[in-house]
Symmetry: C2
Subunit: 338 residues, 2 copies
DNA sequence: CTGAAAGCGCTTACAG
DNA sequence: CTGAAAGCGCTTACAG
């Protein structure tokens, strides 16, 4: 493999002249020389060694996409279609900006900090943050530009990209209320612990209040997650004497689990129970009936996150920005008028 | 950030002694000195700089997970639940072996080669290979250890991990035949172009032959992919006068699309049409009826791929191994006896 | 517009 | 068991 030295030797110039063409310092090298050097570089398939560049520049053009390890499941969060899609978009967009993406699962803050220093990582994006203590710790301890997706802390300087979660909860409930529903349940992991979920819950409460209603304790399904959690909810509902006529789930997979569990027990969707999900990820389109869900624009979320990160890398003073993306109910067939 | 020099200075030794403890050359440093140096290292949160190490060693401990860009869809293949799950397992297992994972989407061979040289990447794993020409080109041109998942070429020296695709096609058809089906369709992307699909198709043919049957041209649905493709198949079937009673799809998403499309048109699953999928990925469990599918062990596939790659990195003569993982029909509710 | 020198943080022979 | 020297492939001031 050829090095800058070989190229310089063949071109009859110094290595620093070659370095200048690599770095597009047009002012520092004559067009003719540049032309000649470029030809020699392509002829030899020359590619600059990032290790050497990184050693000097203290930067690597590597962005770490941080994947928390969720202890609810043994599998990586990339199994989640929402996470996979997000990671895919991030990779695509970062690559366009000539950054390299390192996938990095972690359990605690120190692991992230170590990887960052090991590679002089230029920036990090955290998707599907799990525990608040870990997430807060990371935000507080890291010096590297970090964009947190789907979590925000008012008391910390952070770059975060979230959804209008309160609005989403509100819209979902309002949508059902307008369809005539008055007995509306709410299924979520950890309603009172995660800010995202709490916001959605508060939006739901607000809509109920507008109709002079209040949530009913029994119809709040807490600590349920993914499909399995949804099936548990279905089972619980099937045993109730006073059932809700509709349920809002804070995640499509959870909604799908509810639908699946109900169908298994002869509870018809949407005739016997209406269901609204959250995200509009792949499963929403897959199942029958199609899932009516609070849709987000995942591509736009990725795009905004990358933009924020790029700006943060360039501007060290840009370390505190909170962006909220709109959501919108995507109608399919899982809700019926009553 | 502290360097090896700082640590050496504080410990009162030379940098090379510190280097020896970093690299666990126990023979070259006394236990007492090692102990002292280790304490200083942890005190300062010292982490070796990989750029510097990589510059000398010509290796990086980076493994590239290669993601072909499929032109059938604008989204990254990570949106596919099978790909996401696989990538997640790979990351997890490689991290356990203290390798770093670089995510790397690409359209042509040169892009991969460039990234490899830029970072001195130690090994690569290709998932969901698309075009044969690109895949072959990559295998032929790269010097770096490469494991190809789900594709094999008899005429090339390759490390590949595949399924028993022929057996899978056979098992799926046999399963349906034993349930009394005689009119069995087959839906796939590019039946005659991809070896994986062709093998499944041949297994299907073999099972039919055992029952004195032959595939019927009309019931071969070619060039259909993912959910959209499945819905097209359903539409075609709905318009047929002589319909198949069962269909095998070479991908769960495709099978789900068929089911969805049928349900939309009042064709009951499994009463009017039985469907068998392939992979046993997340959607199979999600839909109603549950999808009977040719199941593979994705975790084992990831595990075997990582093991092969590790061996290839250690042993330059290990460049040709073809491993076939077994598959097994996972029964759910999408097939009915006739 | 071009070059010689120093150095990024580490490891690899080579001596002792 | 320990160290001084050279060097990996680049870039960064500094001169001209």
């Amino acid at each position: 493999m050829s090095t800058i030295k070989d190229i310089a030797a063949e071109a009859g110039v110094s290595v620093m002249t070659v370095s200048n063409v690599i770095n597009n310092n047009h002012a520092r090298v004559s067009p003719a020389t540049e032309q000649r050097i470029r030809e020699i570089m392509t002829k030899h398939n020359y590619v600059p060694n990032m290790a050497a560049r990184s050693l000097i520049s203290k930067s690597s053009r590597i962005i770490a996409v941080l994947l928390p390890i969720w202890h609810v499941s043994t599998a990586s969060i990339l199994r989640d279609p929402y996470a996979g899609q997000l990671a895919g978009y991030l990779e695509e967009m970062l690559r366009e900006k000539e950054y390299y993406v390192m996938l990095c699962s972690f359990e605690n803050v120190d692991q992230v900090l170590m990887v960052q220093r090991t590679w002089q990582i230029d920036g990090m994006i955290l998707i599907l943050p799990h525990e608040d203590t870990v997430t807060r710790g990371l935000i507080e301890k890291t010096q590297t530009p970090l964009v947190v997706i789907d979590r925000h802390y008012d008391d910390l300087k952070t770059l975060s990209v979230c959804l209008d979660d309160r609005g989403g909860g509100y819209q979902a409930a309002k949508y059902l209320l307008e369809k005539g529903h008055r007995k509306i349940g709410f299924a979520a992991p950890a309603i009172y612990e995660s800010s995202v979920i709490r916001d959605r819950f508060e939006g739901y409460q607000e809509a109920l209040r507008e109709y002079g209603l209040k949530e009913k304790e029994e119809w709040l399904f807490d600590s349920v997650i993914q499909q399995e959690g949804g099936e548990t909810v279905a089972e619980t509902i099937s045993r109730m004497s006073d059932r809700p006529t509709a349920v809002i789930a804070t995640e499509d997979l959870l909604a799908c689990g509810i639908i699946k569990g109900c169908q298994k027990r002869g509870i018809q969707i949407p005739q016997d129970l209406s269901v609204v999900g959250f995200d509009d990820s792949m499963p929403a389109k897959l199942i029958t009936p199609g899932l009516t869900t609070v849709a987000q624009d995942i591509r736009e979320k990725a795009n905004l996150s990358v933009q924020m990160l790029m700006r943060a890398i360039e501007d060290p003073s840009f370390r505190d920005e909170y962006r909220i993306l709109p959501v919108k109910v995507k109608e399919r067939q899982s809700v019926q008028e009553v």
